[in-house]
Symmetry: C2
Subunit: 355 residues, 2 copies
């Protein structure tokens, strides 16, 4: 696979930040500083920061591994303060948890910021497919619990990998549920990660809500289906505010030493590339990985700047597709195995440029 | 615990159905027949019906156990046809999965209609608390996978229970995700269950959306955060239609031989009892179990008709609270252990009345 052209497009971190106005019509920009003053951080945020600091310190002192912050799973938007109903973003966490395993295998340490109860690296091979207890049986001779023969070999292999990662303190797992918890936690972690320099990678695979209800507008109690909350024809109407475009803040302020990769998920292939180019132009980060809901496990597209670093990124950005072959699909390859080596190369180039 | 008064209030299944107008203001009623003609059944519905028929036939021929249909977990409401975003109802599935275990222990066969990936009976003791692989270790002597000492005894006990239930074909698990899948599946299962007569119990613990977007109004693709979908101040506005009140159809048409129990979850204790009474009056089923989000694991209230069977149910309905004592909380009792014996008594009384 020839990937020269994509290599040369890694932006120089010392280059002035492109703040030109995008050419696409976009929703009104939201002041994200405003977001962080008007909404309340999760109560456990100091605990998270302290865990991340310990993790970074450990690796700075002992391994100096590359570190990836991977976000995974969907954020929720509560529709009530005492939450009964919420808006959710579809994501089992497959992309994030698979990518985490591959980066760990390639020597990275990983901070895994994930939606609680979505897929985790290693356990993802089991937890969502089958009733937990169907993996086990009782040996009738010594009455000990054993793994069913069907699963024993696969589980053994994965358990070995997992224990190696645990023993080397290479995986830090941090959960979130709401978009508010996600935004505050992402801000804290990425700011802390910036101290690790260019050996840090930010890999934003989580499906983040574009809209939310500010805490000041949230009803205290469960929305009632009685007449007074409804329109005259019995409809419930929900008004949502846009979520601030935090990616800009990661690139500009929170973690400008890191290589930064975002994902763009669409269902309409006619707009995927343009949306990815637009994101790259607006946020000026390193790479957008585009994918369609329908084909996301078989193909993705890398959208990055072309080497001439023009402002007209929408015209000059380059695309590069990664696709599983029929043979690879038959042999249960995962698309992350195909495109992550390219991400690792981009990151190594980024590290070399800054040293 | 004296429960005479609640026993006497089980409605006579042969009694004419109360169709009087409720006294509370309510959202416009939706024609549910309309719902089932205007929306599309899930493609797998025939497979579900065939499984349920086999299950009923097996128990009719071999055990003639009482059978409970338990619904559990929250339904989703897709906001797009190619679903990226959806509205969800908060529910881990604790109430439903715990109740299933207790009914199974008490000799019931259980059809468990649950939100995919929410808690299941037996595995609920493990799956959501800890990384799957943290339960296991590799024995360094024979290289076999074993259960960690901390978990071995508990898991052994639960695995024994689970295997007994599996071996006796007492548990049929059927998943759903969207409210549309839920409604069509519930209709099919409860209609089939009606052939089992009064030995059937319908126990509606799922958290079902009150509002949805009809398939005819669903946008095909992911809602874009570009200007044309938004209000002038950048807000996204979502219009939702009320979900038809299917409970009336279960009681009147689909499964009028069954004892029928619904749940009412609120966050505001000032309205809980009245909402439960209203539901009982509107749907004329056997029992509403009320609970508050904040205290649902410690107390519930049974709201049933008083024995005089008056139309003024809102004035004459009776409440009975079940609460865990401090001692029970300390000893990890579950509230379902406290109130389900009462449900079983009600069901036995219902069976006796109809024989």
């Amino acid at each position: 696979m020839n990937s020269e052209d994509i290599h040369t497009s890694v932006p120089d971190p010392n280059k002035a930040i492109d703040r030109s106005i995008p050419d696409f019509p976009v929703a009104k920009e939201v002041d994200d500083n405003d977001y962080f003053t008007k909404n309340t951080p999760p109560t456990y945020i100091h605990e998270v920061v302290s865990k991340v600091k310990d993790f970074l310190q450990y690796h700075k002192a002992n391994t100096f591994k590359k570190i990836a912050l991977i976000t995974s799973g969907g954020t929720t938007v509560p529709l009530e303060n005492n939450t009964v109903r919420f808006i959710d973003n579809f994501s089992a966490g497959t992309r994030g948890s698979t990518s985490a395993e591959i980066l760990l295998k390639n020597g990275y340490a990983v901070i895994f910021l994930y939606r609680e109860f979505s897929l985790l690296p290693y356990s993802r091979h089991f937890s969502h497919n089958l009733h937990f207890l169907d993996y086990m049986k009782i040996n009738s001779i010594d009455n000990k619990i054993e793994i069913n023969d069907d699963h024993n070999d696969k589980m053994y292999k994965i358990l070995l990998d997992y224990q190696k990662i645990k023993d080397s303190n290479s995986l830090l797992i941090i959960p979130f549920t709401t978009v508010n918890q996600y935004l505050f936690t992402l801000k804290s972690i990425s700011t802390t990660l910036n101290t690790y320099g260019s050996k840090s990678l930010i890999y934003l695979a989580a499906a983040v809500s574009d809209f939310f209800i500010p805490v000041s507008k949230l009803p205290q109690h469960k929305i009632q289906s009685s007449v007074n909350n409804l329109s005259s024809n019995g409809q419930l109407i929900i008004n949502l505010d846009p979520v601030p475009k935090f990616l800009k803040r990661i690139v500009d302020d929170w973690s400008n030493n890191s290589l930064i990769i975002s994902f763009k998920l669409e269902t309409d292939q006619n707009i995927l590339i343009n949306k990815a180019k637009l994101a790259l132009k607006r946020y000026n980060h390193n790479l957008v990985i585009g994918n369609l809901l329908q084909t996301r496990k078989k193909e993705v597209v890398f959208v990055s700047k072309s080497s001439n670093e023009s402002n007209q990124i929408d015209k000059n950005a380059q695309e590069k597709w990664f696709r599983l072959t029929d043979d690879q699909i038959k042999n249960n390859f995962e698309i992350e195995e195909i495109f992550l080596p390219e991400v690792i190369k981009l990151h190594d180039l980024w590290i070399n440029k800054t040293n």
